[in-house]
């Protein structure tokens, strides 16, 4: 479903990723582990095509980085859910509206939006906080809202970039439980993290990256 072939991305400061080849199969749980600055986020960025490779190519479903047109990128991203370390919620909208946004983008009907948002919020255990504003809930809850927003459109792949990075161990464990539950329902997950100790407790393939290269 997701394949990176000999991908190279270079930033102006010389950092980036070099000859990365990896794949994520449907329903698979993959941890991309490495220290800060190792290139984890860059790998994820090539998958949601925020960065296009200078060399090599990325395939996500029917989209190929070699042939994708700029106008097709939003449609690729609608098939992927993305969760960030800093949550990136819309501060001017309540929890319900934050999650609903993904469905507004695809032009879903109001009835459908309501049904699917409530289900996504139930999946992350936040049905009771639908009308709260982001600054009225805890960090862990904010990340659950971000996960709900990422899964509400039933993506085939969930990309999580340090989703527990800003959370205490207990809250992080709760987030991991949510992600694992989503994965058991068939959604592939590629999670980037620096916390090797945490991910080795869960069943999933671990890929290590350091200095922009995969570690054998």
């Amino acid at each position: 479903m997701v394949e990176l072939h000999e991908v190279r991305v270079t930033y102006a400061n010389g950092e980036g990723i070099e000859r990365i080849t990896l794949s994520v199969a449907p329903g698979e749980l993959v941890f991309l582990v490495g220290p800060s600055g190792a290139g984890k986020s860059t790998v994820l960025k090539t998958i949601y095509m925020e960065r296009l490779p200078a060399e090599g190519h990325v395939v996500v479903g029917e989209y190929n980085s070699l042939f994708i047109k700029k106008g097709e990128i939003p449609y690729l991203r609608r098939r992927i859910g993305i969760v960030f370390q800093d949550f990136r919620l819309f501060a001017d909208r309540d929890v319900f509206e934050n999650v609903a946004f993904t469905l507004e983008v695809i032009g879903a009907r109001q009835k459908e939006i309501k049904r699917r948002v409530l289900r996504a919020l139930a999946d992350v255990g936040l049905s009771h906080k639908a009308r709260k504003m982001p600054d009225e809930i805890s960090g862990g809850e904010q990340q659950r809202v971000a996960i709900a927003r990422a899964i509400v459109n039933e993506p085939v792949l969930l990309l999580a970039d340090e989703p527990t990075g800003n959370l205490d161990p207990e809250t992080a464990a709760g987030i991991m439980e949510v992600l694992l539950r989503i994965n058991t329902r068939g959604t592939s997950i590629l999670m980037a993290t620096h916390n090797y100790e945490m991910v080795r407790r869960y069943q999933g393939r671990i890929i290590q990256i350091n200095n922009g290269r995969l570690v054998a």
């Binding site: 949601y48 925020e50 106008g71 939003p74 449609y75 690729l76 991203r77 609608r78 993305i82 990136r88 819309f90 501060a91 001017d92 946004f101 993904t102 507004e104 983008v105 695809i106 032009g107 109001q110 927003r149 990422a150 459109n153």
Partner: protein
């Protein structure tokens, strides 16, 4: 595209930054009121010019020695000169009646005979700004035999015409500045909105929002600001114009189509202003 969502986003945009929106609306209202006044001044100048053109006439006094046939021939000659629209004959008797009507005094009370000469009123088919041509026509009439004198009082008209022309030119220059000013105001406000919402817009892109989905509420917001400002301007213009037309006779009233046109201009300026900001900053 979800219209309900777009309208809600536009409304929320106003709520989120109501201060800058209000400022933008009031500034546009000010600019468009000015624009409306300038258009009105320009329309009144045009109307004034048309009135002047209709009143452009020469009075040709006829020598007393001419008989009726010669007078008729002279009238015909004058009528054949290019630039002459209409020639009307004023007999001595008609001139005396006119005198009495204007001054309210019996002309023959002190004089034994009618001293007023017969004349032609020559209406010209040229515009008042064609001073040289008017002088040329007057000169040609003056040279015709049987013409005693050609009288015209165009100096004041020529001066008024000159000032009217100047006022019209200044109006149009101001219109240009006002239009650019309105564009700048909307564009700047939308630029601020974009700057404030940059992180949100980035996230919107990451969850699959198309550029059109992100831009449409901003365009609608700019367009609405332009329209609301224009409605305020139209109302103000209508009210002031009503008061002025009551005070000064002969002033043109703002036609309803003109008010609708101002609102449409506001919408277009708002749309273009947002478009400029979006093209540059989004």
């Amino acid at each position: 595209m979800n219209i309900r969502y777009m309208l809600k986003e536009t409304g929320d945009g106003f709520k989120r930054a109501w201060g800058s929106c209000l400022l933008s609306i009031l500034t546009i209202a000010f600019f468009l009121t000015l624009l409306g006044f300038l258009a009105l001044v320009s329309a009144n100048i045009d109307y004034f010019k048309r009135t002047l053109n209709e009143r452009l006439q020469l009075q040709v006094f006829i020598a007393n020695v001419l008989d009726d046939r010669e007078i008729a021939e002279l009238g015909q000659h004058i009528g054949e000169i290019p630039g002459v629209r209409k020639v009307s004959f004023i007999s001595k008797q008609m001139a005396a009646e006119e005198f009495q009507k204007e001054f309210g005094r019996e002309l023959f009370a002190v004089l034994e005979e009618n001293p007023l000469p017969s004349s032609f009123i020559v209406q010209l088919g040229v515009a008042a700004e064609e001073e040289g041509r008017i002088r040329q026509i007057a000169g040609r009439i003056e040279q015709l035999s049987g013409v005693d004198e050609v009288v015209y009082h165009f100096q004041t008209l020529f001066k008024l015409q000159h000032y009217a022309q100047l006022a019209a030119t200044v109006s149009w220059i101001l219109v240009l500045f006002v239009t650019l000013g309105s564009l700048f105001v909307v564009s700047n406000n939308i630029r601020l909105v974009i700057a404030a919402r940059k992180p949100i817009i980035t996230t919107m892109r990451l969850v699959g929002a198309t550029p059109a989905f992100i831009r449409t509420p901003l365009l609608l917001e700019g367009m609405s600001q332009g329209m609301i400002g224009a409605v305020l301007a139209a109302l103000l213009l209508y009210a002031v114009n009503r008061v002025l037309t009551g005070l000064v006779s002969g002033l043109l009233a703002v036609p309803p189509a003109g008010l609708i046109f101002i609102v449409a201009i506001g919408a277009v300026l708002g749309f273009l202003g947002s478009m400029l900001a979006i093209k540059r900053y989004l």
